[in-house]
Protein backbone atom coordinates (compact mmCIF):
# COMPACT_ATOMS: atom_id res chain seq x y z
CA UNK A 1 0.00 0.00 0.00
CA UNK A 2 1.25 3.46 -0.85
CA UNK A 3 1.48 5.67 2.18
CA UNK A 4 -0.19 9.07 2.05
CA UNK A 5 2.00 12.06 2.73
CA UNK A 6 1.31 15.34 4.46
CA UNK A 7 1.51 18.70 2.64
CA UNK A 8 4.50 19.23 4.98
CA UNK A 9 6.33 16.07 3.92
CA UNK A 10 9.20 17.91 2.21
CA UNK A 11 9.65 20.16 5.24
CA UNK A 12 9.94 17.14 7.55
CA UNK A 13 12.56 15.52 5.35
CA UNK A 14 14.51 18.78 5.15
CA UNK A 15 14.53 18.86 8.96
CA UNK A 16 15.99 15.34 9.06
CA UNK A 17 12.89 13.76 10.59
CA UNK A 18 12.72 10.02 11.09
CA UNK A 19 9.58 9.01 9.25
CA UNK A 20 7.25 6.18 10.23
CA UNK A 21 4.08 4.65 8.79
CA UNK A 22 1.07 5.57 10.92
CA UNK A 23 -2.57 4.93 10.04
CA UNK A 24 -1.71 4.69 6.34
CA UNK A 25 0.39 7.88 6.37
CA UNK A 26 4.14 8.47 6.32
CA UNK A 27 4.63 10.86 9.26
CA UNK A 28 7.51 12.14 11.43
CA UNK A 29 8.33 9.89 14.40
CA UNK A 30 10.95 12.31 15.74
CA UNK A 31 13.21 15.09 14.56
CA UNK A 32 16.90 15.41 15.35
CA UNK A 33 16.29 16.41 18.98
CA UNK A 34 14.67 13.03 19.65
CA UNK A 35 11.47 12.00 21.40
CA UNK A 36 12.54 12.73 24.99
CA UNK A 37 13.79 16.25 24.20
CA UNK A 38 10.67 16.99 22.15
CA UNK A 39 8.49 15.74 24.98
CA UNK A 40 10.22 17.90 27.57
CA UNK A 41 10.08 20.94 25.27
CA UNK A 42 6.30 20.57 25.12
CA UNK A 43 5.99 20.43 28.91
CA UNK A 44 8.41 23.34 29.43
CA UNK A 45 7.84 25.61 26.42
CA UNK A 46 6.11 24.73 23.14
CA UNK A 47 6.33 22.35 20.18
CA UNK A 48 4.60 21.98 16.82
CA UNK A 49 3.23 18.70 15.50
CA UNK A 50 2.09 17.99 11.97
CA UNK A 51 -1.16 16.10 12.53
CA UNK A 52 -2.39 16.28 8.96
CA UNK A 53 -3.02 12.51 9.12
CA UNK A 54 -6.10 13.20 11.24
CA UNK A 55 -9.16 13.20 9.02
CA UNK A 56 -11.40 16.14 8.29
CA UNK A 57 -14.91 15.06 7.37
CA UNK A 58 -17.08 18.06 6.51
CA UNK A 59 -20.79 17.74 7.28
CA UNK A 60 -22.99 20.55 5.97
CA UNK A 61 -26.64 21.33 5.48
CA UNK A 62 -29.79 22.13 7.40
CA UNK A 63 -29.92 18.59 8.82
CA UNK A 64 -26.20 18.37 9.69
CA UNK A 65 -26.73 18.92 13.41
CA UNK A 66 -29.50 16.31 13.63
CA UNK A 67 -27.40 13.76 11.78
CA UNK A 68 -24.43 14.25 14.07
CA UNK A 69 -26.65 14.11 17.14
CA UNK A 70 -28.03 10.78 15.96
CA UNK A 71 -24.60 9.35 15.18
CA UNK A 72 -22.40 10.54 18.08
CA UNK A 73 -22.55 10.04 21.85
CA UNK A 74 -21.97 13.55 23.15
CA UNK A 75 -24.59 16.29 23.01
CA UNK A 76 -23.80 19.11 20.58
CA UNK A 77 -26.64 21.12 22.13
CA UNK A 78 -24.30 21.63 25.10
CA UNK A 79 -22.11 23.77 22.82
CA UNK A 80 -22.84 25.83 19.70
CA UNK A 81 -21.22 27.28 16.59
CA UNK A 82 -17.65 28.35 17.28
CA UNK A 83 -16.98 25.53 19.75
CA UNK A 84 -15.35 22.11 19.65
CA UNK A 85 -16.43 18.90 21.40
CA UNK A 86 -14.88 15.50 22.08
CA UNK A 87 -17.25 12.67 21.24
CA UNK A 88 -17.48 8.99 20.25
CA UNK A 89 -18.92 7.04 17.33
CA UNK A 90 -20.18 3.66 18.56
CA UNK A 91 -20.83 0.33 16.93
CA UNK A 92 -24.59 -0.06 16.89
CA UNK A 93 -24.38 -3.77 17.75
CA UNK A 94 -22.13 -3.76 20.83
CA UNK A 95 -21.34 -0.09 21.62
CA UNK A 96 -17.63 -0.55 20.85
CA UNK A 97 -15.95 2.78 20.18
CA UNK A 98 -15.47 2.85 16.39
CA UNK A 99 -13.70 6.16 16.70
CA UNK A 100 -13.08 9.01 19.08
CA UNK A 101 -13.52 12.33 17.41
CA UNK A 102 -13.28 16.07 17.91
CA UNK A 103 -16.11 17.97 16.22
CA UNK A 104 -15.31 21.53 15.20
CA UNK A 105 -18.65 23.37 14.92
CA UNK A 106 -17.57 26.03 12.44
CA UNK A 107 -20.90 27.63 11.39
CA UNK A 108 -24.58 26.94 12.02
CA UNK A 109 -24.68 24.39 9.22
CA UNK A 110 -21.03 23.40 8.90
CA UNK A 111 -19.20 20.88 11.08
CA UNK A 112 -15.61 19.69 10.57
CA UNK A 113 -15.46 16.24 12.14
CA UNK A 114 -11.90 15.07 12.93
CA UNK A 115 -11.52 11.28 13.12
CA UNK A 116 -8.35 9.27 13.63
CA UNK A 117 -6.46 8.72 10.38
CA UNK A 118 -7.35 5.08 9.84
CA UNK A 119 -11.00 5.59 10.81
CA UNK A 120 -11.86 8.37 8.38
CA UNK A 121 -13.63 6.11 5.89
CA UNK A 122 -15.84 4.49 8.50
CA UNK A 123 -16.78 7.89 9.90
CA UNK A 124 -17.75 9.12 6.43
CA UNK A 125 -19.83 5.97 5.99
CA UNK A 126 -21.53 6.39 9.36
CA UNK A 127 -22.43 10.03 8.73
CA UNK A 128 -23.91 9.29 5.31
CA UNK A 129 -24.74 11.61 2.42
CA UNK A 130 -23.42 15.12 2.83
CA UNK A 131 -20.35 13.99 4.77
CA UNK A 132 -17.32 14.72 2.60
CA UNK A 133 -13.72 13.75 3.27
CA UNK A 134 -11.71 16.96 2.76
CA UNK A 135 -8.56 15.70 4.48
CA UNK A 136 -6.40 16.25 1.37
CA UNK A 137 -7.28 19.95 1.20
CA UNK A 138 -5.46 21.05 4.34
CA UNK A 139 -2.69 20.50 6.83
CA UNK A 140 -3.21 20.54 10.59
CA UNK A 141 -0.47 21.96 12.78
CA UNK A 142 -0.86 21.46 16.53
CA UNK A 143 1.05 24.03 18.58
CA UNK A 144 1.17 22.80 22.17
CA UNK A 145 2.78 23.74 25.45
CA UNK A 146 2.64 26.47 28.09
CA UNK A 147 4.39 28.94 25.75
CA UNK A 148 2.39 27.92 22.64
CA UNK A 149 0.06 30.92 22.56
CA UNK A 150 2.71 33.41 23.64
CA UNK A 151 5.03 32.36 20.82
CA UNK A 152 2.28 31.96 18.25
CA UNK A 153 1.02 35.46 19.08
CA UNK A 154 3.93 37.01 17.17
CA UNK A 155 2.82 35.48 13.86
CA UNK A 156 -0.92 34.78 14.24
CA UNK A 157 -2.37 36.87 17.08
CA UNK A 158 -6.00 35.96 16.40
CA UNK A 159 -5.20 32.25 16.37
CA UNK A 160 -3.16 32.58 19.56
CA UNK A 161 -6.09 34.16 21.36
CA UNK A 162 -8.61 31.36 20.69
CA UNK A 163 -10.32 30.08 23.82
CA UNK A 164 -10.06 26.53 25.07
CA UNK A 165 -12.39 24.33 22.96
CA UNK A 166 -13.35 27.34 20.84
CA UNK A 167 -13.17 27.32 17.03
CA UNK A 168 -12.69 30.36 14.76
CA UNK A 169 -11.48 31.47 11.37
CA UNK A 170 -8.27 33.46 11.17
CA UNK A 171 -6.52 35.17 8.32
CA UNK A 172 -3.08 34.11 7.10
CA UNK A 173 -1.87 36.70 4.57
CA UNK A 174 -5.25 36.73 2.88
CA UNK A 175 -5.91 32.98 3.17
CA UNK A 176 -8.74 31.84 5.39
CA UNK A 177 -7.68 29.25 7.99
CA UNK A 178 -9.28 27.68 11.03
CA UNK A 179 -8.04 27.41 14.60
CA UNK A 180 -9.33 25.40 17.56
CA UNK A 181 -8.21 25.56 21.17
CA UNK A 182 -7.68 21.81 21.30
CA UNK A 183 -4.83 19.32 21.54
CA UNK A 184 -3.66 15.93 22.70
CA UNK A 185 -0.76 16.61 25.05
CA UNK A 186 -2.41 17.65 28.30
CA UNK A 187 -0.92 21.12 27.83
CA UNK A 188 -2.52 24.34 26.68
CA UNK A 189 -2.35 24.92 22.94
CA UNK A 190 -4.12 25.28 19.64
CA UNK A 191 -4.58 23.38 16.40
CA UNK A 192 -4.37 25.21 13.08
CA UNK A 193 -6.17 23.86 10.00
CA UNK A 194 -4.61 25.57 7.02
CA UNK A 195 -5.14 25.05 3.26
CA UNK A 196 -2.44 22.78 1.81
CA UNK A 197 -1.16 25.60 -0.42
CA UNK A 198 -0.04 27.71 2.56
CA UNK A 199 0.85 24.86 4.93
CA UNK A 200 4.58 25.13 4.24
CA UNK A 201 4.75 28.84 4.96
CA UNK A 202 2.67 28.56 8.14
CA UNK A 203 4.86 25.69 9.38
CA UNK A 204 8.03 27.67 8.62
CA UNK A 205 6.63 30.70 10.44
CA UNK A 206 5.68 28.60 13.47
CA UNK A 207 9.20 27.17 13.69
CA UNK A 208 10.61 30.64 13.06
CA UNK A 209 8.66 31.90 16.08
CA UNK A 210 10.82 29.67 18.29
CA UNK A 211 8.55 26.62 18.42
CA UNK A 212 10.45 23.38 17.84
CA UNK A 213 9.01 20.50 15.80
CA UNK A 214 7.94 17.30 17.56
CA UNK A 215 6.99 13.93 16.11
CA UNK A 216 4.50 11.16 16.79
CA UNK A 217 6.85 9.59 19.36
CA UNK A 218 6.54 12.60 21.65
CA UNK A 219 2.85 12.95 20.84
CA UNK A 220 2.34 9.41 22.18
CA UNK A 221 4.38 9.85 25.38
CA UNK A 222 2.69 13.21 26.02
CA UNK A 223 -0.83 11.86 25.60
CA UNK A 224 0.03 8.90 27.81
CA UNK A 225 1.36 11.15 30.61
CA UNK A 226 -1.87 13.14 30.24
CA UNK A 227 -3.86 9.89 30.60
CA UNK A 228 -5.56 10.40 27.22
CA UNK A 229 -6.84 7.39 25.25
CA UNK A 230 -5.52 6.33 21.84
CA UNK A 231 -7.87 4.54 19.46
CA UNK A 232 -6.57 1.01 18.83
CA UNK A 233 -5.31 0.82 22.43
CA UNK A 234 -7.74 2.26 24.99
CA UNK A 235 -10.64 2.43 22.52
CA UNK A 236 -11.60 0.05 19.73
CA UNK A 237 -13.39 -3.22 19.03
CA UNK A 238 -14.90 -4.66 22.21
CA UNK A 239 -14.17 -1.52 24.24
CA UNK A 240 -17.03 0.77 25.23
CA UNK A 241 -16.80 4.35 26.54
CA UNK A 242 -17.84 3.09 29.98
CA UNK A 243 -14.98 0.56 30.13
CA UNK A 244 -12.57 3.31 29.08
CA UNK A 245 -13.73 5.51 31.97
CA UNK A 246 -15.18 8.03 29.51
CA UNK A 247 -18.81 7.96 30.60
CA UNK A 248 -18.84 11.78 30.47
CA UNK A 249 -18.63 11.58 26.67
CA UNK A 250 -22.07 9.93 26.59
CA UNK A 251 -25.17 12.16 26.87
CA UNK A 252 -27.99 9.94 28.05
CA UNK A 253 -30.52 12.79 28.09
CA UNK A 254 -30.25 13.85 24.43
CA UNK A 255 -32.39 11.10 22.90
CA UNK A 256 -31.34 8.20 20.74
CA UNK A 257 -27.89 7.79 19.24
CA UNK A 258 -26.07 5.02 17.47
CA UNK A 259 -25.09 2.26 19.93
CA UNK A 260 -27.24 3.62 22.75
CA UNK A 261 -29.18 0.41 23.44
CA UNK A 262 -26.20 -1.93 23.94
CA UNK A 263 -24.39 0.76 25.96
CA UNK A 264 -27.43 1.26 28.19
CA UNK A 265 -27.56 -2.50 28.70
CA UNK A 266 -23.91 -2.52 29.79
CA UNK A 267 -24.54 0.39 32.15
CA UNK A 268 -27.42 -1.55 33.67
CA UNK A 269 -25.51 -4.80 34.23
CA UNK A 270 -22.22 -3.11 35.16
CA UNK A 271 -18.89 -3.07 33.34
CA UNK A 272 -16.70 -6.17 33.34
CA UNK A 273 -13.41 -4.24 33.24
CA UNK A 274 -12.23 -0.70 33.56
CA UNK A 275 -9.33 1.35 32.30
CA UNK A 276 -6.97 2.43 35.06
CA UNK A 277 -3.73 4.39 35.22
CA UNK A 278 -0.69 2.63 36.71
CA UNK A 279 2.73 3.81 37.79
CA UNK A 280 5.41 1.13 38.04
CA UNK A 281 8.48 1.01 40.22
CA UNK A 282 11.54 1.67 38.09
CA UNK A 283 12.25 2.96 34.61
CA UNK A 284 11.28 -0.06 32.58
CA UNK A 285 8.49 0.92 30.15
CA UNK A 286 5.35 -1.18 30.41
CA UNK A 287 4.14 -2.30 26.98
CA UNK A 288 0.74 -2.97 25.45
CA UNK A 289 -0.49 -6.55 25.99
CA UNK A 290 1.60 -7.20 29.12
CA UNK A 291 -0.51 -9.05 31.74
CA UNK A 292 -1.69 -7.37 34.94
CA UNK A 293 -1.91 -9.63 37.98
CA UNK A 294 -4.35 -8.81 40.75
CA UNK A 295 -3.77 -10.81 43.94
CA UNK A 296 -1.46 -13.05 41.94
CA UNK A 297 -3.99 -13.86 39.24
CA UNK A 298 -3.60 -12.59 35.66
CA UNK A 299 -6.81 -10.61 35.31
CA UNK A 300 -5.96 -7.51 33.34
CA UNK A 301 -3.88 -6.25 30.45
CA UNK A 302 -1.85 -3.16 29.61
CA UNK A 303 -3.33 -1.14 26.73
CA UNK A 304 -0.51 1.44 26.49
CA UNK A 305 2.69 1.90 28.42
CA UNK A 306 5.93 3.76 28.21
CA UNK A 307 8.60 5.61 30.13
CA UNK A 308 7.37 8.91 31.54
CA UNK A 309 10.01 11.50 30.64
CA UNK A 310 8.76 13.81 33.40
CA UNK A 311 8.32 11.25 36.21
CA UNK A 312 11.29 9.17 34.96
CA UNK A 313 9.48 5.93 35.66
CA UNK A 314 7.24 3.51 33.81
CA UNK A 315 3.57 4.42 33.40
CA UNK A 316 0.69 2.52 31.85
CA UNK A 317 -2.97 2.48 31.07
CA UNK A 318 -4.49 -0.95 31.64
CA UNK A 319 -7.84 -2.71 31.67
CA UNK A 320 -8.41 -4.33 35.07
CA UNK A 321 -11.37 -5.76 36.97
CA UNK A 322 -13.80 -2.99 37.99
CA UNK A 323 -13.19 -3.55 41.70
CA UNK A 324 -9.54 -2.46 41.40
CA UNK A 325 -9.45 1.03 42.92
CA UNK A 326 -7.14 4.02 43.04
CA UNK A 327 -4.39 3.34 45.57
CA UNK A 328 -4.39 -0.42 45.02
CA UNK A 329 -1.13 -2.16 44.18
CA UNK A 330 -1.20 -4.70 41.34
CA UNK A 331 1.59 -6.55 39.53
CA UNK A 332 2.79 -6.16 35.95
CA UNK A 333 4.39 -9.05 34.11
CA UNK A 334 7.11 -7.27 32.14
CA UNK A 335 8.64 -9.93 29.89
CA UNK A 336 8.78 -12.39 32.77
CA UNK A 337 9.71 -9.95 35.55
CA UNK A 338 6.94 -9.24 38.04
CA UNK A 339 6.93 -5.55 38.93
CA UNK A 340 4.60 -3.81 41.42
CA UNK A 341 2.37 -1.09 39.98
CA UNK A 342 0.19 1.42 41.83
CA UNK A 343 -3.23 2.47 40.57
CA UNK A 344 -3.30 6.28 40.37
CA UNK A 345 -5.72 8.96 39.29
CA UNK A 346 -4.77 10.35 35.86
CA UNK A 347 -3.27 12.54 34.56
CA UNK A 348 0.17 11.25 35.52
CA UNK A 349 1.56 14.75 34.95
CA UNK A 350 -0.44 17.96 35.45
CA UNK A 351 -0.44 20.69 32.78
CA UNK A 352 1.93 23.60 33.18
CA UNK A 353 0.23 27.00 33.61
CA UNK A 354 -0.07 28.73 30.22
CA UNK A 355 2.16 31.76 29.77
CA UNK A 356 0.36 35.07 29.13
CA UNK A 357 0.20 36.42 25.58
CA UNK A 358 2.92 38.97 24.90
Amino acid sequence: MTLRTSPLDAAHRALGAKMVPFGGWDMPLAYEAGTLAEHRACRAAAVAFDVSHLGTVRVTGADALDRLQAALTNDLDKIGPGRAQYTHLLDEADASVLDDIIVWWVDDERFDVMPNASNTERVVAALGDGAVDVTHERAIIAVQGPAARRLLHAIAPDAAAIGRFHVARFDWNGTECLVAGTGYTGEDGVELAVPAAVAGEVWAAVLGAGIQPAGLGARDTLRLEAGLPLHGHELGPGITPLQAGLGWVVSWDKGDFRGRAPLAAEKERGISRRLRALTVAGRRPPRADQPVLVDGVASGVVSSGNFSPVLEQGIALAFVPPEVAIGDVVTLDQRGSEVPATVVKPPFVAASPAEPLA
Binding site: K18, L29, A30, G34, T35, L36, G217, D220, T221, G282, R283, R284, P285, R287, N306, F307, R335
Partner: protein, 126 residues
Protein backbone atom coordinates in the same frame (compact mmCIF):
# COMPACT_ATOMS: atom_id res chain seq x y z
CA UNK B 1 26.75 6.15 10.78
CA UNK B 2 29.91 5.85 12.80
CA UNK B 3 31.56 2.40 12.39
CA UNK B 4 35.01 2.52 14.02
CA UNK B 5 37.62 0.55 12.10
CA UNK B 6 39.23 -1.03 15.17
CA UNK B 7 36.10 -2.85 16.36
CA UNK B 8 34.44 -6.11 15.33
CA UNK B 9 30.71 -6.44 14.81
CA UNK B 10 27.87 -8.95 15.04
CA UNK B 11 25.04 -9.06 12.54
CA UNK B 12 22.75 -8.25 15.52
CA UNK B 13 24.38 -4.80 15.76
CA UNK B 14 26.63 -5.35 18.76
CA UNK B 15 30.24 -4.20 18.67
CA UNK B 16 33.20 -5.98 20.30
CA UNK B 17 36.46 -4.36 21.32
CA UNK B 18 38.94 -7.21 21.62
CA UNK B 19 41.82 -6.79 24.04
CA UNK B 20 43.55 -10.16 24.42
CA UNK B 21 40.94 -12.42 26.01
CA UNK B 22 38.80 -9.53 27.25
CA UNK B 23 36.02 -8.39 24.94
CA UNK B 24 34.18 -5.15 25.65
CA UNK B 25 30.65 -5.16 24.21
CA UNK B 26 28.12 -2.51 23.26
CA UNK B 27 25.52 -1.66 20.63
CA UNK B 28 26.44 0.15 17.45
CA UNK B 29 25.69 3.70 16.42
CA UNK B 30 23.34 2.27 13.81
CA UNK B 31 21.49 0.30 16.53
CA UNK B 32 21.10 3.24 18.88
CA UNK B 33 19.87 5.44 16.05
CA UNK B 34 17.32 2.83 15.00
CA UNK B 35 16.12 2.38 18.59
CA UNK B 36 15.66 6.07 19.31
CA UNK B 37 15.89 7.42 22.85
CA UNK B 38 16.93 4.58 25.17
CA UNK B 39 15.15 4.72 28.54
CA UNK B 40 15.93 1.34 30.13
CA UNK B 41 18.78 -1.17 30.00
CA UNK B 42 18.97 -4.58 31.63
CA UNK B 43 22.45 -6.05 31.99
CA UNK B 44 23.75 -9.57 32.57
CA UNK B 45 25.07 -10.59 35.99
CA UNK B 46 28.80 -10.51 36.57
CA UNK B 47 29.96 -14.12 36.54
CA UNK B 48 27.31 -15.30 34.11
CA UNK B 49 28.42 -17.74 31.44
CA UNK B 50 27.24 -16.57 28.03
CA UNK B 51 27.19 -18.18 24.60
CA UNK B 52 27.70 -16.30 21.36
CA UNK B 53 24.29 -15.41 19.92
CA UNK B 54 22.42 -15.89 23.22
CA UNK B 55 20.50 -13.06 24.87
CA UNK B 56 22.39 -11.22 27.61
CA UNK B 57 20.15 -8.23 28.20
CA UNK B 58 17.55 -5.87 26.84
CA UNK B 59 17.49 -2.30 25.67
CA UNK B 60 14.19 -0.41 25.65
CA UNK B 61 13.55 2.88 23.94
CA UNK B 62 10.41 5.02 23.92
CA UNK B 63 9.29 3.04 20.89
CA UNK B 64 10.56 -0.54 21.19
CA UNK B 65 12.35 -3.34 23.02
CA UNK B 66 15.48 -5.02 21.67
CA UNK B 67 17.38 -8.01 22.97
CA UNK B 68 21.14 -7.74 23.29
CA UNK B 69 23.03 -10.84 22.15
CA UNK B 70 26.49 -11.89 23.24
CA UNK B 71 28.84 -11.46 20.28
CA UNK B 72 31.26 -14.02 21.79
CA UNK B 73 31.16 -16.93 24.27
CA UNK B 74 32.70 -16.63 27.70
CA UNK B 75 32.07 -15.21 31.15
CA UNK B 76 30.77 -11.75 32.02
CA UNK B 77 33.47 -10.11 34.16
CA UNK B 78 32.30 -6.50 34.23
CA UNK B 79 29.07 -4.58 33.53
CA UNK B 80 28.45 -0.87 33.04
CA UNK B 81 26.15 -0.34 36.03
CA UNK B 82 26.03 3.42 35.36
CA UNK B 83 23.66 2.70 32.48
CA UNK B 84 20.88 1.70 34.87
CA UNK B 85 20.32 5.32 35.88
CA UNK B 86 21.73 6.92 32.74
CA UNK B 87 20.61 4.78 29.78
CA UNK B 88 20.83 7.85 27.51
CA UNK B 89 24.59 7.17 27.36
CA UNK B 90 23.78 4.44 24.87
CA UNK B 91 22.56 7.15 22.51
CA UNK B 92 25.14 9.78 23.35
CA UNK B 93 28.29 7.65 23.23
CA UNK B 94 27.56 4.11 22.01
CA UNK B 95 31.23 3.15 21.58
CA UNK B 96 32.47 4.82 24.78
CA UNK B 97 30.45 5.58 27.92
CA UNK B 98 27.58 3.52 26.56
CA UNK B 99 29.46 0.18 26.73
CA UNK B 100 27.41 -2.67 28.18
CA UNK B 101 29.72 -5.34 29.58
CA UNK B 102 33.08 -7.11 29.32
CA UNK B 103 33.18 -10.79 28.46
CA UNK B 104 36.27 -12.90 29.20
CA UNK B 105 36.64 -15.28 26.28
CA UNK B 106 36.34 -18.94 27.16
CA UNK B 107 39.28 -21.24 26.41
CA UNK B 108 39.43 -22.14 22.73
CA UNK B 109 36.77 -19.49 21.93
CA UNK B 110 37.38 -17.46 18.84
CA UNK B 111 36.03 -14.23 17.44
CA UNK B 112 36.37 -15.28 13.80
CA UNK B 113 32.63 -15.21 13.25
CA UNK B 114 32.44 -11.47 13.83
CA UNK B 115 32.40 -8.96 11.01
CA UNK B 116 35.10 -6.38 10.54
CA UNK B 117 34.18 -2.73 10.10
CA UNK B 118 33.98 -3.02 6.35
CA UNK B 119 31.73 -6.06 6.57
CA UNK B 120 29.44 -4.32 9.04
CA UNK B 121 29.23 -1.20 6.88
CA UNK B 122 28.17 -3.41 3.98
CA UNK B 123 25.52 -5.02 6.22
CA UNK B 124 23.90 -1.76 7.34
CA UNK B 125 24.21 0.03 4.02
CA UNK B 126 23.16 -3.01 2.00
Amino acid sequence: MNVPDELRYSSDHEWARIDGTRVRVGITDYAQDALGDVVFVSLPDVGAAVAAGAGIGEVESTKSVSDIYAPVSGTVVEVNADLVDAPERLNEDPYGEGWLCVIELGADEAVDELLDAEGYRTLIEG
